[in-house]
């Protein structure tokens, strides 16, 4: 139905003068985004590190061969997948659910709830992540104090391979669910009220309304929000970096933190760049495949 309308292409004249308006954006994209990106991709093909800081040269695929033969790569990719998928499957549906609950007819206290959900979003993440790291500390951390009061033993929230990743996902959940609640509230509110009234007249219960009105109308938006939520999490640096620093061992090291570790802690810039390139290639393939199945990019037209 909707698809057929997409083929009604309006043949509009190209407006060359319009380029003037987007000139700042083009300049920024060219010089401050894509030029450094290509520069970085080039680094991944060189031996640029602290030893060859001023005289680095082209070494071909040597860095990639090194990375692919190291056992760390697969651990790090596995961690990245657990981290991104684990975070996305909890935060995105929770935001959607809260938006639906708050948008029920005659729901009281909407503004109070929404204001309270603003807290994690409105406080700089840089700070709240450090607050969480104190709350999850083994001795004196409030999480363990609670467990002790309830008669449980203290947990190694951030220092055992068993719980570290779960703790990271928990903190990420706290940081991100408000954003998804607000985004979905705005999406749900964009549906005209008449459609809900029509569904009610036809005797639709809440589940049928959800399945036949809300979800079909929002399917592309949901796809878009979920997929970009996944990408954002994939590249979310501060949570693992500040909470566990990738540890214990490399059990919470994800591609972006590992790339940073190689580049800045070991001053091996070319190896760091190689990890970043691998991360981008994986994400790019993911976006192309996801777009093929969901057609989510149509919301940009």
């Amino acid at each position: 139905m909707v698809e057929s309308e997409d083929y009604v292409v309006k043949k509009k004249k190209l407006e060359w003068k319009g380029i003037i308006y987007v000139l700042p954006a083009i300049i920024v994209l060219a010089f401050l985004d894509f030029y450094p990106i290509f520069e970085s991709v080039y680094y991944s093909l060189t031996d640029f590190n602290s030893v060859h800081f001023f005289k680095y040269g082209y070494v071909g695929l040597a860095n990639f061969i090194y990375v692919f033969t190291s056992s760390d790569l697969w651990t790090v990719i596995g961690n990245t997948l657990v981290w991104s998928i684990g975070s996305t499957v909890v935060m995105v549906p929770a935001g959607f659910l809260l938006a639906l609950i708050m948008n029920q007819k005659k729901m009281r206290g909407k503004t109070i709830y929404r204001t309270m959900y603003l807290f994690p979003w409105a406080f700089p993440a840089f700070i709240t992540i450090l607050v969480w790291s104190n709350m999850l500390a083994y001795t004196g951390g409030v999480a363990n104090e609670f467990l002790n009061v309830l008669g449980f033993k203290s947990l190694d929230w951030l220092t055992s391979p068993k719980y570290a990743m779960i703790s990271l996902i928990l903190v990420n959940f706290w940081l991100s669910f408000p954003y998804y609640t607000f985004v979905y509230t705005s999406a749900v509110q964009s549906i005209p009220q008449e459609l809900y009234e029509a569904a009610e007249i036809n005797g639709y219960g809440p589940i049928r309304t959800l399945a036949h009105v809300t979800l079909p109308l929002l399917r592309r938006q949901i796809a878009f929000i979920t997929i970009f939520g996944f990408i954002f999490t994939w590249n979310n640096f501060y949570i693992p970096f500040l909470l566990t620093g990738g540890g214990p061992g490399i059990s919470t090291e994800i591609l972006i933190t590992y790339s940073y570790l190689q580049a800045f802690s070991y001053s091996n810039y070319s190896l760091g760049a190689a990890y970043a390139v691998i991360s981008i290639v994986m994400l790019f393939v993911f976006v192309v495949v996801a777009n093929h199945y969901t057609k989510m990019m149509k919301i940009l037209d």
Partner: protein, 305 residues
């Protein structure tokens, strides 16, 4: 009451109305139960959302020395609350200088970035610019790239231009980031606005350009405020870039200051750290609360596509 009714006349219509009544009653009870469950879920999430902030505020007002000495009892406000941590920060660290630096740096970057993005956002929505889609896809693809890829090339670029350890060297990348993201937000928002107003204005003799700017810019107020808020947040808390670029102490921002204050002694000087976190959070917090409604109305992804 129900029994009386059914005893009086047992015809079919009466029966069905009785079952309707029961059904209605059932629905009503279901509705109340649903309401209660809804509120329980919302309250639980609200407590979860607020608790860490409450925790940091209350610790900042306590005079606990170190994290290891903290206990659950400290979470309850008592007569021991003190402002000594705050006083300590303002007297022992150049906090006000860091605050001033951060506000200038962040304010300029945000304004430059968002103001430049208004024209490109409008044009991307309303003009049939050649290669428009290529431009939009390039903007989106940028989200795939981790910022770690940018830090080193930026460092060399700005070193060549002699802009390291200066605010201009930070304002350029900050406002560039805001420009791209805001153009994209504004484009999406303007897409959802009807074309009737600008067309009417053009009929009344306004040129296309002034029709766009005089009509659409005021109508885009929610998204512009939303973009300003989001753009403000990034530079305000940035450490990754500022920490690499800025070396003079007189140019320190709050994020660098917090790192500097907390380095190594969070555990020892727990109260000071918490007070710093609260002070740094307050400006952003106020902005978000004042402009709260734009957080819903400003975010728009056009429906029905």
């Amino acid at each position: 009451m129900e029994n009386k009714l059914s005893n009086k006349n047992k015809n079919a219509s009466q029966n069905s109305s009785e079952s309707m009544y029961k059904l209605n009653n059932h629905y009503k009870r279901m509705r109340i139960a649903k309401r209660i469950v809804s509120h329980i879920v919302l309250i639980m999430f609200a407590l979860f959302a607020v608790f860490p902030i409450y925790y940091v505020v209350i610790t900042s007002l306590n005079s606990i020395g170190s994290l290891a000495q903290a206990s659950l009892g400290d979470l309850i406000p008592s007569s021991h609350l003190t402002l000594s941590n705050y006083i300590g920060i303002i007297y022992h660290h150049p906090f006000l200088l860091w605050l001033k630096n951060t506000l200038i740096l962040t304010g300029v970057s945000t304004l430059v970035g968002v103001l430049l993005s208004i024209t490109s956002g409008l044009a991307l929505s309303r003009f049939n610019i050649p290669m428009k889609h290529v431009l939009l896809y390039m903007m989106l693809i940028l989200t795939l790239f981790p910022f770690t890829m940018m830090v080193i090339p930026y460092y060399f670029m700005f070193a060549h231009l002699h802009l390291l350890d200066s605010y201009i060297g930070l304002i350029i990348p900050y406002s560039a980031g805001a420009l791209i993201y805001s153009s994209y937000l504004i484009k999406n928002y303007v897409d959802s606005l009807p074309k009737d107003y600008e067309e009417a204005a053009q009929m009344d003799g306004l040129s296309r350009r002034s029709a766009l700017f005089r009509i659409l810019v005021p109508m885009s107020k929610p998204v512009i405020i939303f973009a300003l808020l989001i753009a403000f947040m990034g530079p305000y808390t940035d450490y990754a870039l500022a920490g690499q670029f800025i070396t003079s102490k007189s140019l320190y921002t709050m994020a660098i200051g917090l790192y500097y204050v907390s380095q190594g002694d969070i555990v020892i000087n727990y109260g000071t750290y918490s007070a710093f976190a609260v002070l740094m959070g307050i400006p952003i917090f106020i902005l978000f609360f004042v402009f709260q409604r734009y957080l819903v109305s400003g975010f728009s992804l056009s429906t029905y596509k």
